[in-house]
Symmetry: C2
Subunit: 169 residues, 2 copies
DNA sequence: CGGCTGAGTATCTATAAGTAAACCCAAACT
DNA sequence: AGTTTGGGTTTACTTATAGATACTCAGCCG
């Protein structure tokens, strides 16, 4: 019997199917970054864009959606606004990434690597990620606390402290 | 001068803003897993669900969307269909994950960890991931080829073999 | 034969996104 | 004073996606 099944073996419910999924961290992250354009905006921030016009030009995304997404990312603390001033122009806002935004890098690198592996052009990827200090290629890996590299098949998901069942009915 | 800038220093174009983003691996991955419900379906497959009714019950997602998503995931080779047979019932299809699907685990674990850090309930996460063999907690890390752990700030993105500029106009 | 079940389809409505264009604002420049 | 510029907002219209509900279909069972 696995860790899910032993949670509720006496009720008629199935913890896999009747658990409450509303506090799932994957779903909650997707509520923020799961809308169209959001991750692509962050990609451009990582690649060096910071201004409204930069995003519009490189993404080709509608201005109203871009404004909505940028406002949301700032409200969520993933981006922050600063000002910049070109000589001869007034101060204007720009968008910079926060530590909270940088913490999304592993997730997005996971998407990047999957696309590199399964959907790249014949020549290879359009962009390569490397370690600035040593120039070596970087990738995402799953590791356990003891430092072992872990294959996805070796991962076991178990109920955590906030695990709960769906209200019956 | 960085690797982006030296790509096209003589033209009037800016490689950051005028590059062709249509072969971006992040965007291409999102074309497949970026629609609502897709990643949540995969989550349930990892947690042990395999049948149409399982997904519907635990996700509460509309049946027509579920059917569309499952068909697409099978077409893309992320899931595969097998059959199961309950005693006294006819054979019915079930959905199992492929190696290509397992390769999405690092990306989704990245989303999970971000949600655990920034959007979890006060008690903690609803689900914990651990190494089946040793029971230790697992997480995603970025590493370079030489085995160094790499912080997101230490990553440099440079043009790859399929880098190209947008057709002018 | 008629009802039950799991796995879908079909249809309709509601919401979100895409497209295009006009408009606003403040500072700097002419 | 009038124009230009970057960074938006607003409006109007079209299309795509999401959601809710009803219906179908194939086999098993009595």
């Amino acid at each position: 019997m696995d860790a899910w099944t032993e949670v509720l073996q006496d009720t008629g419910m199935d913890p896999r199917l009747d658990r409450d999924t509303s506090n799932c961290s994957i779903a909650r992250t997707l509520e923020i970054v799961g809308e169209k354009w959001t991750i692509l905006i962050l990609r451009e921030v990582w690649y060096g864009s910071s201004r409204f016009g930069d995003f519009e030009r490189v993404l080709g995304c509608p201005r109203n959606l871009l404004a909505t997404r940028l406002r949301m990312l700032v409200e969520e603390g993933i981006l922050a606004t600063e000002t910049y001033k070109e000589p001869g122009s007034r101060s204007r806002p720009k968008y910079v990434i926060t530590a909270k935004g940088m913490d999304l890098v592993p997730a997005v690198m996971g998407l990047l690597e999957w696309g590199d592996r399964y959907r790249a052009d014949p020549e290879g990827p359009a962009v390569l990620a490397r370690h600035r200090e040593c120039g070596a290629h970087v990738d995402v890996q799953i590791r356990c606390e003891r430092g072992h590299a872990v294959q996805a098949e070796e991962i076991e998901s178990v109920p955590g402290p906030a695990f709960r069942m769906r209200p019956a009915g």
